[in-house]
């Protein structure tokens, strides 16, 4: 008897909790969004920035009373998956999220290595995927036919665009006649950017006097830099991720290289200045937005992010934030929590003004039309120099 009574009470409590849970769930409907980030593996900093920005985007929406879709207010829930910066794990993370019918869309992976296999799965499962940071043009294309994928979008511009912007900047603004290039040959974005830079710079009459490479994980660039120094270029193009940049520029300084360096959007971390002990002073790089002449959206984001995480946001954080902004906008426009409707609404967004500028998806393409800015590092700050439109 005693046992029975106790189990009875237990059952009651259980039922009550369940009911309460159900009630709560029915009161506040939830929309689930997946995030695939490089939390471990080669690019932990990318993953960390992406995760923090995603969490901030979601909590901002929830704090503001949730996301209004079709007249109802939804809470946003984030399902975070680590892909260990690996292709196969990205695929299984994407498939895991795609198989979960609650998930309406995914953001990430950031690096193309993971974004390309994940995109294949998103496309075949008919679920929106927005990659914040993958600049490989192939991510949003059907790799066999070359036609654009239906469900895959990105929040950033592509390597060819950036390569062109940087080459033009070197020629037109810096009036460089000779350029040297140093890039990570085992990393895809730097390799693509450097190749485009080379072609465009040479076509416009410039000369590439040195083209040197290194491999991910290298810490010593003295041999390459000594070689570059020998060739006395007007400008050194360094499309490198921001944990390589400080080592390169400091070693360059020590070896007495005087030419200015020109970098890609991967430079865009405020950490860069601290990490490189200000050796980047006077150098230029291409970015998605200019913090000093920021739009109100950007200013608000930078302030909020810095307050929450005690560090300034980098490009991955800004782009992830924009990817979520785009997705929220699409969900609002879709009027229902449905994968297909979200995709259609996303493709139809007229213009979206985010942290990284205004963007619009042209008909049938997942690549946004957005402009780039050129920044200079001056007085320990990123300073706007010029805009570059597509």
């Amino acid at each position: 008897m005693h046992v029975n009574r106790r189990s009875g009470i237990l059952a009651c409590i259980l039922a009550a909790t369940l009911a309460a849970a159900c009630e709560k769930a029915s009161q506040v409907p939830t929309v689930h969004i997946g995030l695939i980030a490089e939390l471990s593996g080669d690019l932990p900093a990318v993953g960390a920035s992406s995760r923090t920005a995603a969490e901030m985007a979601v909590s901002q929406v929830n704090d503001a009373g949730g996301l209004t879709i079709g007249g109802r207010s939804y809470r946003v829930e984030l399902a975070i998956e680590d892909n260990a910066s690996k292709a196969d794990q990205s695929a299984s993370a994407a498939q895991k999220l795609a198989s979960d019918s609650d998930i309406v869309a995914i953001v990430g992976p950031n690096a193309s290595l993971g974004a390309i296999p994940a995109a294949e799965i998103a496309e075949s499962s008919g679920m929106v995927m927005i990659t914040p940071w993958s600049t490989n043009p192939k991510t949003t294309l059907d790799t066999r036919t070359g036609a654009p994928k239906k469900y895959v979008f990105r929040a950033c511009f592509t390597d060819p665009f950036e390569g062109r912007v940087l080459a033009r900047f070197a020629l037109d603004t810096l009036h460089a006649h000779t350029a040297a290039i140093l890039y990570d040959q085992s990393s895809e974005a730097p390799k693509s950017q450097s190749e485009l830079f080379k072609t465009i710079f040479a076509e416009a009459g410039g000369t590439i006097v040195a083209s040197e490479t290194y491999t991910s994980g290298d810490k010593d660039f003295s041999a390459q830099l000594t070689k570059i120094n020998q060739s006395a270029p007007d400008v050194v193009f360094l499309p490198a991720y921001y944990n390589d940049v400080p080592l390169v520029v400091q070693q360059a300084k020590r070896l007495g290289i005087k030419a200015p360096f020109l970098g890609s959007d991967a430079w865009s971390s405020p950490d860069l200045i601290k990490l490189s002990d200000n050796a980047v002073e006077g150098f230029y790089f291409c970015n998605h937005y200019a913090p000093d002449v920021a739009t109100p959206e950007a200013a608000r984001f930078v302030r909020a992010y810095t307050e929450t995480y005690k560090r300034a946001p980098d490009d991955v954080a800004a782009l992830t934030y924009d990817a979520f902004g785009l997705l929220f906008e699409a969900l609002r426009g879709a009027g229902q929590v449905d994968r297909r409707a979200t995709r259609d609404a996303l493709a139809k967004i007229p213009t979206y003004t985010g942290v990284t500028g205004t963007m619009r998806f042209p008909e049938g393409s997942g690549d946004p039309i957005k402009s780039a800015v050129m920044l200079q590092i001056r007085g320990g700050k990123f300073v706007w120099v010029t805009n570059a439109n597509p």
Partner: protein, 339 residues
């Protein structure tokens, strides 16, 4: 994958366990998704498990049965992946005929890897132990660096446009085939030769073992299947990149081999399955799982230094005649002092 049992119900059932496993696995892998029982996610995980089983059992041939410490397995995998992918994208016409030509592409990738395996085997004649480990490491770096410099296959940007041809039934078929072939090999005179080389190379040679042939055989069969796994992975992810085949990939395989136990195919199956499933199950822990996994590995090694199955084998993985002998011995007093 069916769960391995140490003691299957009756003798008659176990005759031809592997063919039964193949037939059952194939039927299940066709039918279950067809009826919607296996979600695409579970299928995908099973595909990774299968690919890892192929990698682990093939690496076990060199590292476990032959007792060398190869860290270059990812290199063979890369050669197989690129070989198969180039063949299926650029040479063989895809479309309607592709499913028929798919095994051809995979085998070709495997053969390319096996060829390089022979080269490494030639180097292993003079170099052994830690020096051979460095040889395999150098080999891996050379393969990776070559692929990065080959713009024909996309260089560092990776090779795209591979048809999705790897399906669960194919993976089941290939993993059972791998286990079957390696099992046949290790329980033949060639396999005993390989193990004799591990235990004492000079004594083996003085007992009539052609040690060079044993090394070439072990390396080529092992790298063949690494290549097969690479080909399957390429046609599964539809995208390959030199970065996928780095030392970290080799390290993963080493962990699976030694986790399961050297010199044991059952161990390799267990090691690959447990590692893959655990990694997947712990994914929500993010970076924390990468602290947990090595910790578990270290604890396991401390308590079972030879891995889960070190030098032991499930009886259903033994050839029929060895199995009978094992049973006869077991029914006597168990003198088998295996740790």
């Amino acid at each position: 994958m069916s769960t391995p049992k140490l003691h299957a119900p009756s003798h008659r059932h176990r005759k031809g366990m592997l063919p039964a496993l193949l037939a059952g696995g194939l039927a299940a892998s066709y039918l279950l998704p067809y009826f919607g029982v296996l979600s695409p996610y579970v299928q995908l995980i099973l595909i990774s498990v299968g690919v890892n089983i192929i990698l682990t059992s093939s690496l076990n041939l060199v590292n476990g049965y032959m007792g060398e410490f190869s860290v270059g397995h990812a290199g063979f995998m890369a050669v197989g992946a690129y070989g198969a992918a180039v063949l299926s994208v650029n040479v063989l016409p895809y479309g309607a005929a592709a499913p028929w030509l798919f095994p051809l592409a995979i085998v070709a990738g495997g053969l390319a890897a096996a060829l390089l395996g022979c080269v490494v085997a030639l180097l292993s004649f003079k170099t052994r132990g830690d020096y051979l480990a460095i040889v395999t490491l150098a080999f891996l770096m050379i393969v990776k660096s070559t692929l990065e410099n080959l713009d024909v296959v996309g260089g560092a940007r990776g090779f795209l446009g591979i048809e999705k041809l790897t399906t669960l039934p194919w993976v089941v078929a290939w993993s059972v085939a791998t286990i079957w072939v390696i099992r046949n090999l290790v329980h033949s005179r060639y396999g005993r030769d390989i193990q004799a080389v591990r235990d004492d190379e000079i004594a083996a040679n003085q007992t009539g073992v052609d040690t060079r042939r044993a090394k070439v055989l072990a390396f080529s069969v092992s790298s063949f299947f690494a290549g097969v796994a690479g080909g399957l992975l390429a046609h599964h992810l539809q995208f390959i990149n030199p970065r996928m085949f780095d030392i970290a990939k080799s390290t993963d395989m080493l962990v699976m081999v030694y986790l399961g136990g050297i010199g044991s195919l059952g161990g390799s199956i267990l090691g690959a399955t447990i590692y893959t499933l655990l990694l997947e199950a712990l994914r929500p822990l993010g970076a924390f799982r990468m602290m947990l996994m090595p910790l578990m590995l270290v604890l396991l090694m401390l308590f079972r230094p030879r891995g889960i199955m070190g030098m032991r084998e499930f009886s259903w993985l033994l050839p029929a005649c060895d199995r009978d002998a094992r049973e006869a011995a077991a029914s006597d007093v168990d003198k088998d002092g295996k740790a």
